[in-house]
């Protein structure tokens, strides 16, 4: 072991600055041990303490009548009726997915599953929001392939259907892809498990996989003298074991059906340290751990290594001592490790012993209360000028623009991805990927279903983070609405660059303000989330990416609508006529410009249009519905045609807008609604003071543009499907 002195220098290599280390010394009243320093460093890391983001996150609305538990628990909990709750959260695994795409993405899925089932929920759906670098970058292909295999490999094996997500490509992610995974589970309202420990003398129980030296933070990697053996530089990469996770899910849920559990917490980032500290801290008690009892996979592990290991598929619980035997029997039945590794105490300290030595003794309250909190300097971004949209001319025909856009990486079919994800396991997936704006997953034994989506348009956020933040929330809300479901709540995953740069902090602040405004206006509170900062390589930040995971509910799954057209339907656009080309995909892909202000988000209009559409769907006449987003109206229509394998004849656009502006503008708060007879809907919209316009009728095997130019569905489908097929061949 090291003889390196424990001082400010070492603390810095652990990620604690001089001021933070001074605070450690004050709390401890002495020089901390190596293990103690490790505990402080992980608890006060950005990841665990949210030290740069906390002041801003407070601005998000988190309450509504249906919110049972907002941020602060392992996952958010909302009431969905029938005495049931939906428990959900999204989390990033960006950096690990760049280092080792398969395992990085796989363990990301594993981690978010644990956040959800730790609260007593059976996971019923996974989603994934992905951002990759340019396809031309040779590294991107490997990352995409590995990430998709990893997400599938883990989700398919645990038997949780992967039902949706999103994918974007942009050069800003070349050295820093984003992998955000979301899990949704269901639990009875009166059987939700929390992490606050209680009951002096109660056993602290470790279950799951054994502990190895996985993922111990980078600081130790860099200083080889801390490694017991230096023959081989240990990877920080963790390997996931979805098989063990599946057993852990079943064993935990079986145990949760008894009354044995007092508190439970998954071992996520910073493993045993954060789970023990958080459980004891939340319960206002003390905790003592005996590391000799920890199931270990490797030999000669030190206290420091065990406290910081991020080995996967492990949970920590506080049990009712009278039920310890019941609990042990369940874990033995599932062939999982079960070990009493400590007790709850009344000391208010975490005391860690190993081989007869006290390796750490830290007062919990100051560890939590005196965690650093920064209001970092920020410069709010200046919104770019609005382009003169009417003056933008199209270099190509409508048809050529459509065929180019529908084939571009950001708009092409994602079937290559979702065909590797088991979306059907469980037998309740009513709308699989590609079928509807939000995935629809029914609750077994009921007609009720959840509507699930992830959304964010990073290029809008880059241009104007406030508008982009609002737009991401609005699009999630709209996607749920377009299925007929009622949006309930949001989880977020804030992916940004280095918060120590005022411009990045400004992006963060502005995005939060936009999200907060949208969440408030749409009654769509944030109930859980995750922050991932320092997403930079070589000083270059990613596009600000506040990914939004939205959840809604629909009382009768059979009433949920998808995007697929059938013949003989009127297509009606609900919303204004459009023409907004700033930051549109048309502008980028056809005109070669990434410019201008993104489309504004009018939250009042957003809500009015959405409520109107949902009401129309509930009334029963709507056959299909799709919101208008990336690529604009014509892309939305083309997607509906392809999904239903049904052609459309489009009417002329209004004179007031350019043709390309009308068909490819990305104005917000719009839906394409398809129904046998559009007239009553048009008049209802008129009565409600909402713009709506008939744009065409479905039928045949062609998409016929205004003016009579036709594209066969086969041509359209070939263009839509080409990118992944050719790239991954």
């Amino acid at each position: 072991m090291s003889s390196r002195p424990i001082d400010a220098d070492l603390a810095r290599s652990f990620g604690l600055n001089a001021e933070e280390y001074a605070r450690v010394l004050t709390i401890m009243g002495r020089t901390p041990s190596l293990t103690e320093l490790g505990i402080f460093s992980v608890m006060w890391s950005e990841h665990c303490s949210y030290k740069s983001s906390r002041v801003w996150l407070k601005e998000l609305p988190t309450k509504a009548a249906w919110v049972v538990h907002g941020p602060g628990e392992n996952a958010g909990v909302v009431d969905i009726g029938d005495n049931l709750t939906a428990i959900f959260k999204m989390e990033s695994h960006n950096h690990p997915s760049f280092i080792e795409p398969y395992q990085g993405a796989a363990t990301g899925v594993g981690g978010i599953l644990r956040d959800v089932f730790t609260m007593g929920a059976r996971p019923i759906a996974n989603l994934n929001a992905l951002r990759f670098g340019r396809p031309e970058n040779p590294r991107t292909k490997r990352v995409v392939d590995g990430v998709v295999r990893g997400i599938g490999g883990y989700g398919n094996c645990v038997g949780v259907p992967t039902v949706g997500g999103e994918v974007n490509f942009h050069a800003a992610y070349d050295g820093n892809p984003l992998v955000n995974a979301m899990t949704v589970g269901i639990a009875p309202r009166d059987r939700i498990f929390l992490s606050a420990a209680a009951g002096q003398g109660n056993p602290v129980v470790y279950v799951g996989s054994k502990t190895g030296r996985d993922g111990i933070h980078g600081a130790t990697m860099a200083s080889a003298e801390f490694a017991a053996d230096s023959e081989e530089k240990r990877p920080t990469v963790q390997v996931g074991d979805p098989f063990t996770e599946k057993l852990l899910i079943e064993a935990c849920l079986e145990l949760m059906a008894t009354d044995a559990i007092i508190a439970i917490q998954d071992m996520g980032a910073a493993g045993l340290t954060s789970s023990a500290v958080e459980m004891a801290g939340k319960g206002g008690v003390g905790i003592s751990l005996d590391l000799d009892a920890v199931p270990q996979r490797e030999t000669a592990m030190t206290a420091y290594e065990m406290m910081l290991s991020e080995s996967q598929e492990r949970m920590l619980m506080v049990l009712d001592p009278a039920r310890e035997g019941v609990a042990r029997a369940i874990f033995e039945k599932w062939d999982l490790d079960f070990a009493v590794i400590g007790r709850i105490t009344d000391t208010g300290h975490i005391v860690v012993s190993h081989k007869g030595q006290i390796e750490a003794d830290i007062p919990l309250q100051p560890l939590a209360d005196e965690a650093p909190l920064y209001r970092r300097p920020f410069i709010l971004p200046v919104a770019p000028a609005v382009l003169d949209h009417a003056a933008i001319e199209s270099p190509v025909s409508l048809k050529d623009a459509l065929l180019t856009l529908i084939a571009c990486p950001d708009l092409c079919s994602r079937a290559w991805i979702w065909n590797q994800y088991d979306a059907a396991v469980g037998g309740q997936t009513v709308k699989r990927p590609g079928a509807a704006d939000a995935a629809i997953v029914r609750i077994e034994g009921s007609r009720r279903a959840l509507a699930l989506t992830t959304d964010c348009t990073p290029r809008y956020c880059q241009a104007d983070p406030r508008t982009g933040g609002a737009q991401a929330v609005a699009e999630a809300w709209r996607n749920i609405t377009a299925t007929g479901a009622r949006p309930l709540a949001v989880t977020d995953n804030m992916n940004f660059g280095n918060p120590e740069k005022p411009e990045i902090m400004g992006q963060f602040a502005a995005a939060i303000q936009g999200m907060a405004a949208a969440c408030t206006a749409l009654d769509f509170p944030v109930v859980s989330g995750n922050v991932s900062l320092y997403n930079e390589t070589e000083g270059r930040g990613i596009l600000p990416t506040p990914a939004i995971g939205g959840l809604g509910v629909i009382e009768d799954a059979a009433r949920a609508r998808g995007i697929a057209l059938t013949p003989g339907l009127d297509l009606v656009v609900v919303g204004e006529d459009g023409g907004w080309l700033g930051q549109s995909l048309w502008l980028r892909e056809i005109a070669g410009r990434e410019e201008g202000a993104p489309p504004p988000v009018d939250l009042v209009r957003e809500r009015r249009h959405g409520d109107f559409v949902r009401h129309q769907i509930a009334a029963g006449d709507v056959a299909a519905c799709h919101d208008v987003s990336d690529g604009g109206l014509l892309i939305a229509v083309a997607e509906m045609a392809l999904a239903g394998d049904t052609g459309v004849a489009l009417l002329d656009q209004p004179d007031a807008v350019t043709a390309h502006g009308f068909w490819f503008g990305e104005d917000q708060a719009r839906y394409v609604v398809a129904l046998a007879d559009g007239t009553p809907l048009l008049s209802a919209a008129h009565t409600a003071g909402i713009s709506a316009r008939l744009i065409g009728r479905s039928g045949g095997r062609d998409l016929t543009l205004p003016g009579g130019v036709s594209i066969s569905l086969a041509t359209l489908r070939e263009a839509h499907g080409r990118f992944f097929a050719e790239w991954m061949a």
Partner: protein, 79 residues
Amino acid sequence: MKAIVTVMLKTGVLDPQGKAIGHALGTLGFSGIGEVRAGKVIEIELAETDAAKAQAAAEEMSRKLLANTVIESFKVEIA
């Protein structure tokens, strides 16, 4: 010549497959089973006739494709 490349997870990296195999062997009644590690073997026919060159080529193939050196180590034999 033939290159035989064996790829194993690095020591310390969790090997869920090895673990499961070890467990299954125990269940089957085999006793005295210690650690089990599972890896891959790739046999490549090479036109190359110089053993040293074949070795070098196979090592490059391993680094570039056959092994994921972030978590795996490899060994090349020429036969």
